[in-house]
Amino acid sequence: MRKRESTEHVVEVATPEFEKTAQKKEARRGLLMALPSYLYLILFFVIPLGIVLIYSFATRNRFGGTDLSGWNVESYERIAEPIVRTILFRSLWLAILTTVICLVIAYPFAYYLSTRKPAIRNVMLVFVMIPFWTNFLVRNYAWRVILGNDGPFTKVTEFFGLGTHELLFSQKAVVLGLVYGYLPFMILPLYAAIERIDGQLLEASRDLYGNGWQSFKNVLLPLSMPGVIAGSILVFVPSLGAYVTPEILGGAKTTLLGSYIVTQFLTARNWPFGAALSFVLMAVMLLMTIIYFRKGGRTL
């Protein structure tokens, strides 16, 4: 990684002892910067997570409470049931599809954004976020009206002579809703990554390759990879756990992982199984991310 090289470069000229103390000082500084968040997350995240982890090994009692005795791994064993696998693969497919579509739309958009004048850029960026200050649920309901019976979408397709297409309560509607919901999560990090790339470098590469695609593939894309990775994670992860959009726009006709987990906590009142499912989901996400990071040439 580049930054490490350059830090080393600075201390290279110094004497060994000086180097050592300087490194120690650096390490202390780094830890000091991380410490507030570190402690915060241990107190308000790791400890609570420990509680649910314990719950995942407990048993649902007759009345939907959780008995914290008689530890077992039954909840984890249930994950081998075929229905869980079906739900998992269905959700994975939907999440990957959403991520790819978001990437395809957001990349040119973020690039376009970064070619604008700085003042206009900021305004354009804020205008990306404004729709998302309305309520998440209400946005989904607005899409239901658009896609629904006699809604604007049908009117438009009819106007163009494409026939009546009712998208509502279909898988397509779910993907559309997810893309809408998470597109800004892709745009923000992509923009942050593309905007800092040196324009002269791109200019040079274009002169070198003389071909937009080559220059994109060999220069722009590798340099913006951190943004691609961050954006993909921010879209993939919530898509995999989504339950509101599939319910409102998909009509809840098939079960997805997100709603399966919510059902365990808020309908079946089976907290141990819900907790176990959550840990499996998190493990899958971690695994996918690590693979993705490897592909992207980074380590987690």
Binding site: I47, I83, A252
Partner: protein, 376 residues
């Protein structure tokens, strides 16, 4: 690295000790309200109720009468409210759990025994509501409102000539032409319950084979549906998204009466029977102001307040005195309302065909699994 490992271990120990504290804590006595007297106030009122189930004005009237202030927070399902109450320190004085949830909360010790001496108006409650299965001696809860779950139909499309049966949803021979325009509740107990009723079983069955039959029926129906949805059954009907919908009585009435063509819509409970549910007022075990809570419950049970409540949320009242008051109303307004919500045609199989959802204990997870499996 070693240091962080140590931190992790410390964290784990801390978490364990937290749990140890839980295990021995929260043994509050049942009788925090036993010393309360009629009309006693021991603090402000914090109510946790279903959304749109009480008029803020009504709460404000109570607060003004007793010189206190109030807060009203809302929830959208029993299962979302219960963990918040059960975790303790919720800060609420009055909650409104449904029937089966009352029995769960009693069993867990998370609602307190009421001091009925402080609630003399409980005598206003109709005899139909005595000896309820979830609180046989009426020690922990007081009925708030009740209603049914049934079918709403757009008669402008379906016509008037259809059987008052669950077959309207489950039998393709009856409703096949409306495939893709039918909605069922996204709720395992209600929807499997409807299928069980259609098959002639109890909706509280704990028989694996009966539930399996219902599951197969639902799986076969699933592809004919527009959606599984709990919030919008009534809106789907009036917006034309569906023509046959499965939903709650009061929601349907409010929505239908708001349409210009309200004559086109009917709501009924099929002849095989359906769900009757009763929501109740109860006091959490650690309510900050239990006496104010008792006073409030007593106040809500007066004839005037009972009538005002039904007038606002269109659900039926268990309050006999309120019904009498509504019946005597000179302008005839309440008559119409009562005619509407108490129309005998609503219950195709008579009131006796109705059944309440009961907590089935360990079998509860079978229902939610069957529901997921039916959807595929």
């Amino acid at each position: 690295m070693r240091k962080t490992r140590k931190l992790q271990v410390l964290g784990a120990i801390f978490a364990m000790s937290l749990l140890a504290v839980t295990a021995c804590g929260s043994d509050d006595d049942d009788s925090a309200g036993s010393a309360c007297e009629v009309g006693q106030i021991d603090g402000d009122l914090a109510m946790y109720n279903w959304a749109e189930y009480i008029d803020e004005e009504q709460l404000a009237a109570f607060a003004e009468e007793y010189g206190i202030s109030f807060t009203l927070d809302t929830y959208e399902s029993n299962e979302a409210m219960q963990p918040i109450i059960s975790a303790g320190n919720s800060g609420y004085d009055v909650i409104v759990p449904s029937d089966y949830m009352v029995s769960i909360l009693i069993e867990a010790g998370h609602i307190m025994k009421l001091n009925l001496d402080a609630i003399p108006n409980s005598s206003n409650i109709s005899d139909d509501f005595s000896g309820l299965y979830y609180d046989p001696k009426a020690e922990y809860s007081v009925p708030y409102q009740w209603g049914t779950t049934g079918i709403g139909v757009n008669t402008a499309v379906v016509g008037d000539d259809f059987p008052r049966s669950w077959g309207l949803i489950f039998d393709p021979a009856i409703s096949g032409e409306f495939d893709g325009q039918i909605q069922l509740l996204n709720d395992p107990r209600e929807t499997l319950g409807a299928a069980l009723k259609y098959l002639g079983y109890s909706l509280n069955t704990t028989s694996e084979s009966e539930l399996n039959e219902a599951k197969d029926l639902l799986a076969a129906t699933s592809s004919r549906l527009a959606a599984f949805n709990t919030d919008s059954a009534d809106e789907f009907l009036t917006s034309g998204e569906t023509v046959i919908g499965h939903g709650y009585s009061g929601d349907m009435f409010v929505q239908f009466l708001d349409q210009d063509n309200y004559d086109d819509y009917v709501y009924f409970v099929p002849e095989e029977g359906g769900t009757k549910w009763i929501d109740n007022m109860a006091i959490p075990f650690d309510a900050p102001s239990p006496c104010t809570a008792h006073t409030f419950i007593n106040w809500m049970l007066t004839a005037e307040q009972g009538a005002a409540l039904t007038d606002w949320n269109y659900y039926d009242t268990p309050n006999q005195a309120a019904l009498d008051l509504m019946g005597e109303d000179a302008e005839g307004y309440y008559d119409d309302l009562l005619d509407f919500i108490r129309n005998p045609e609503l219950f195709a199989g008579g009131v006796d065909s109705l059944e309440s959802i009961e907590d089935t204990g360990d079998f509860e997870t079978n229902y939610s699994d069957a529901f997921v499996n039916a959807k595929g």
